[in-house]
Amino acid sequence: MKEVRQHEAAAAPKRRFRIGIFPGRSIAFSPEWREDGLCVLFDRNSGDYWVVSGLARKIVENVSQDQGCDAEDLTRVALYALPHDQRLDAMQATARNVLDELLRLEILASGPDAVSPTRAGYPLD
């Protein structure tokens, strides 16, 4: 049964997610400030602003121009639009962001509050 489901999954067309600017927002961009690695996005309608990475800026810029893109293509285009040295940083940043998110959600912990797997009752091996 399990094997059959795996075949079905392989045969099914890959789900494509369309991404666009959040309804009601109109985004303005700070200069790229490439040497800093960070820039600012500004919502003209609400006055909200966000500090984001160069990669995030590129993604939002592409979405703004295309009025909606495929998620995978968007990531690839944005990544390759970055200078070579920043591309690796961007990939590492993605991994770091995931880790940060896990910390923020308190799935993981860091510092003195962290519980080692052994102490938590899950030996490493």
Binding site: A28, S30, P31, L38, F42, Y49, V51
Partner: protein, 305 residues
């Protein structure tokens, strides 16, 4: 009795001051306000009503006494802008600092087309150094020290006034407000002229220092932001200096801006353009001498060019 004679008899001050980039009309019966303006704004003309016919003023300010019995019993001072009364009254003895605080409020709240930030600004030539800061961060003391000990031109000790279209910072060289422990430090600087100390204000003991004449003379000369330095004074703390990204500087400046929200996209692009040509730092220091040393290090690269 003609108006001018009457004004002299009751010591009514009625004067129009050009405080670049604005023109202000000030009227008050308080002698302390008249003395303050005489001391810090170049002296009253022989006839204080001389300039009343100026065609346009940005702020029409009146400092008046308290209402009813508060004119005589524990007298009060009230600040009126265009006849509106935005503040609670203060003791009459604080009428002069109320004028300065109220004038800052006018800049921060009146739509003049400028982006106004809470920061001290000094310049060398056309290169400006902005010192944004939360109250108590040490910006006024550092600003006074740079002005009197290091020869920087004072643009303002309280307000960074940015022209969005040109990206230029507008000078507004008015008295520097120093508080509490800073009074002793600043009074020791050569050329620093302090006015009377006002005790028991909501900021503690406050006194004003006259801006250098050279800064007042250059009040119409704009400057361009080259450095943004966020100072943090903690007595006897070790010196630290860290360059920060312009995006981080943006968020901190946005917090210190009085009217960024109202300026909308123009305000956003104005701050970005200002930061585009600047380097941004955060410094921590435990003495004024250390703070000045850090500023010297930060700005020496550019000034050496």
């Amino acid at each position: 009795m003609p108006y001018r004679q009457l004004a002299q008899v009751i010591r009514l001050i009625d004067i129009v001051l050009r405080l670049a980039p604005v023109t202000v009309r000030v009227r008050s019966p308080f002698r302390s306000v008249a003395r303050h303006i005489e001391r810090f704004y170049g002296g009253l003309p022989a006839d204080s009503a001389l300039n009343r016919d100026d065609p346009f003023v940005d702020f029409d300010i009146r400092l008046v006494g308290g209402a009813n019995w508060r004119r005589w019993f524990r007298p009060q001072a009230r600040f009126l802008l265009d006849e509106s009364d935005p503040f609670l009254p203060l003791p009459a003895s604080q009428a002069a600092p109320l004028f300065e605080w109220g004038l800052n409020w006018c800049f921060a709240t009146r739509p003049l087309g400028y982006l106004v930030m809470h920061a001290a600004v000094v310049a060398q030539g056309g290169d400006a150094l902005i010192l944004p800061g939360f109250p108590g961060a040490g910006k006024s003391t550092l600003c006074a020290s740079l002005t009197f000990a290091e020869g920087w031109r004072l643009l303002s000790d309280e307000l960074a006034i940015l022209e969005p279209e040109t990206g230029e910072l507008q000078p507004n060289p008015r008295p520097i407000s120093v508080k509490n422990e800073s009074l002793r430090i600043v009074s020791a600087f050569p050329g620093a002229t302090l006015g009377p100390a006002y005790s028991d204000t909501r900021k503690g003991t406050v006194a004003h220092v006259a801006p250098p004449a050279a800064s007042v003379d250059a009040a119409e000369q704009t400057a361009r932001c080259r450095w943004v330095v966020f100072p943090r004074f903690t007595a006897d703390a070790p010196t630290t200096c860290e360059e920060i990204t312009r995006a981080e500087a943006f968020t901190r400046i946005a917090e210190q801006s009085f009217n960024r929200d109202r300026m909308g996209e123009a305000g956003f692009h104005a701050i970005c353009a200002m930061l585009d040509g600047a380097r941004c730092f955060e410094i921590g220091y435990g003495s004024t001498a250390d703070g000045l040393g850090l500023i010297r290090d930060i700005t020496s690269e550019r000034t050496a060019q």
